[in-house]
């Protein structure tokens, strides 16, 4: 992979994520018949937050500040593991998909701890939900990736996502759907969570960060979008066709990501949030889809 491509990779990974949030917001506005906030609104928000002062609870400790930092650090490392447009990711090795999945775990570990550090019942509730639901998202993610492992006979994301699909459309569809569900769950979108709700009792991700303010909150917003970007890239790389041209692939990726954001926005506009109790069922369904995919491919 050329240095140029690496630069593009870094640049894209660092700058594009908030745009996706903007696209989602715009889509939802369009569905609702509103003009909506500007496409770049998330950038403005983050920039503003980074400049603002902050209020920190007296209950908290260093763990509280570690939450956002570890969240963004893990997101950044994860994005280096996924090949965006090129054949290769910035960083790849056999088994890097394990690192990829566990990085999200590390991020979650500190995010939830940061929530619990405040001693707030609401944030504890959010943390419990986040942790519980990811228990089901994680196996679904692994099952999806296993399908790729099996068919590409490799254990590195770069090669797994670089391979071409040949006549395994059924598995492909199953995996894409399954990973899309995982994406929605991990990034706390509808139908799992409503990022825009104002009722703390029903929230997951947003309720965990209630006590964060100023730059810390800015980092949190950024890492949330980064997570969407990383998982989105995964889905897009599986679903989108390869052009054969190096820069064409990059174009496909960017287009695909925007399309994905549109799709997420559309889902958010058309679906209601699930009742919390049904969330695990949906994730188990995602697991089953991928498991079926494996059976199809292994038979």
């Amino acid at each position: 992979m050329s240095i140029l491509q690496s630069l593009v990779h870094v640049l894209l990974a660092c700058t594009m994520p908030p745009l996706l949030l903007g696209v989602i917001g715009k889509t939802k506005a369009a569905f609702a018949g509103r003009v909506g906030a500007p496409l770049l609104q998330p950038y403005y928000d983050i920039a503003k937050l980074m400049r603002k002062g902050s209020v920190v609870s007296r209950t908290t400790t260093w763990v509280f500040r570690a939450g956002p930092v570890v969240g963004v650090a893990t997101g950044l490392l994860a994005v280096a593991l996924v090949p965006l447009g090129g054949e290769q990711a910035l960083f790849s090795f056999p088994g890097d998909l394990v690192l990829f999945a566990y990085l999200f775990g590390l991020g979650r570990f500190f995010t939830v701890l940061a929530a619990l550090d405040t001693g707030s019942a609401f944030e504890g509730m959010g943390g419990a939900r986040e942790a519980t639901f990811s228990c089901f998202a994680e196996p679904a993610l692994f099952l999806g990736l296993l399908v790729l492992v099996k068919r590409s006979a490799s254990t590195s994301l770069s090669t797994m996502l670089g391979a071409h699909w040949h006549g395994e459309a059924a598995s492909l569809v199953l995996v894409v759907v399954s990973l899309f569900i995982v994406l929605l769950a991990e990034t706390c979108r509808i139908p799992f969570d409503d990022p825009n709700t104002h009722l703390e009792l029903t929230m997951i991700h947003e309720v965990m960060v209630l006590d964060h303010s100023g730059p810390a909150l800015g980092i949190i917003h950024y890492s949330a979008s980064l997570k969407l970007f990383v998982l989105g890239a995964l889905v897009v790389r599986i679903a989108a066709p390869r052009t054969g041209n190096v820069w064409g692939d990059w174009g496909v990726l960017v287009g695909g990501m925007l399309g994905l954001a549109l799709l997420v926005g559309a889902v958010e506009s058309m679906m209601a949030r699930l009742r919390l109790r049904q969330v695990p069922s949906l994730l188990v369904a995602a697991c089953l889809l991928s498991a079926f995919g494996i059976v199809l491919i292994a038979r």
């Binding site: 763990v63 088994g95 394990v98 999945a101 979650r108 006590d211």
Partner: protein, 661 residues
Amino acid sequence: MSLPLVLMAIALLSLSGFPGLFASRTSAVGERVAVGMVVVGAIGGLTGTFLAVFAQKPPHLELPWQIPGGAIVLEVDGISALFLMPTFLISALGSVYGLEYWAQAKHAENGRKLRVFYGLLAAGLCSLLIARNTILFLAGWEIMALAAFFALTTEDHDPAVRESGFVYLVATRLSTLCLFALFALLHAVQGTFAFTAPALDATTPQATAMFLLALVGFGLKAGLMPLHVWLPGAHANAPSHVSALMSGVLIKMGVYGLVRVCSFFVHPPVWWGVVLVVLGAVSGVFGVVFAIAQHDIKRLLAYHSVENIGIIVMGLGFAVLGRAVGEPSLLVLGLAGALLHVWNHGLFKALLFLGAGSVVHATGTREMDRLGGLAKVMPKTTLGFVIGAAAICGLPPLNGFVSELFIYLGMFQSVLHRDSAVSMAGAFGAPALALIGALALTCFVKVVGVVFLGEPRTQAAREAHEAGAAMSVPMGVLGLLCATIGLAPVLVVPFLERATEAFAPEFSHAGQGLPALAPLAPLALVSVAGVVLLALIGAGSALLGARMKRSPQGTSNTWDCGYAAPSPTMQYTASSFADMVVRLFGWALRSRVHAPRIKELFAPVAHFKSHTPEVVLDLLVVPAARTLRRIFHWFRWLQRGQVHLYLLYVVATLVLLMFWR
């Protein structure tokens, strides 16, 4: 040189508690001498083991022993060495920890007893690891088991301790009896009591029986899921440094036994591996699910031992599969993962138990819902515990991640295999391991959050104090080792490779040798990723710090959606945090909840209580034992004091035997 060092270490360990018996009840001389002996012994033992690993040939010693079938055959091969290292290390650290945790001055009535059996326990562990004769092995095994029994019943005036001690005792005896049968079969098959078995045929019914006996016998000791019944109570009720040694090392002897027995068979059937994988997965998932439902921090950690043993056994299962289908790379990855996880679990679980011990020492309670906010008064313990918690969840860049990565890689190898059973085992194992990891994360987030973060919930938690040097230094060492293995896994490669060679020598004999570990697993790149991650975190904190310093900053109460007067009791509790998972797995957990039903507008004071029984023990084993006892009771009328009936038994026996002839 290496074997004498190890033997010297064993001697020092076994004798360490005895000088104290001659000191007075409150004197600190005994404990200092004991710690000194254990530490010197452990350093010697570690040196010896280290030398053994890098020796040309595994050191071997044979002496005659005037016991039927017995011979003193000792060897430190790769597998033994691998298990010896954490044994020495954790014994020494636990012993130092005990200096403060179980100070003789405060525990005059049982401190000396505890140290005698602590030393014997450590010595038993080491001696069974180097024994290559079944009788010698069994002697070491039982010394370990009994010493552990006495160490864990240190506070025998407490009924809960007695009860869990008894359950432990029965379990360990059943395990020993299974081993009797196993080794008797081994003797029947190969004609000697030697451990260095020639390659055994795995297709005979005897071999199947041996495998199943090993599974039950060693599984009982390891705490594999349906056989784990003794484990939670024992770990919870033992003094914490004993819990650390038991959980970190003792239960691994079950793993050692399984590895050793599996190494006897060159061509194991595929189903052996599948059974191990399935059992491991069951143990892992349900171990962690039960852990989530616990309120007692040490019980919770105990269930995590069940979980981690599950992970280890899964790894071993893939190694057996690899051997069964002749896939050396699968074998190497599975076994390396399992064995490295043995180390890792030893390190982080000991760290966690010592951390929990510090909490218990500081607050006097094991109930998580009575704690909270300890991070401010116990910062060192908190840091240690967080590192341990992250490591046990398998999070990068700590050691747990490396071993799980190996196992995952093994699973991927197995998914790619053409044999459908092997392939399915991998496809089953990987998501199971992912589920285990995510559940463990939930559990440890809960523990850290409820115990160390937030506000103190009780007076005891408010008045807690930080652990002293004797308690925090061992934790520091363990935490450091966790990080070292996580960041530089290359360091452990020689140990693992020695062990895999010892496990499957047939590959070396065939000439090509086992594949090296490094090409199979990207260890250097794992280090790079770890360093990059740490750098990113560092950069992130610097950035955040800088931004926060530049802009105005205030402190206040927790926001809590504007509630003006939050009290510590309003915090989310451990049971609330776990509630969703507990409900989801309610069919297995069988939790009993006593929840108040609110009827009126202004509800009166009410209490909520929830309890999760040890399902296998309380709902299966104990009722079965009761039934059996009742049946036994029926027979008592045979002996009801009537002497003429007694005479009738004699005649009846005589007549029956006459006819039987």
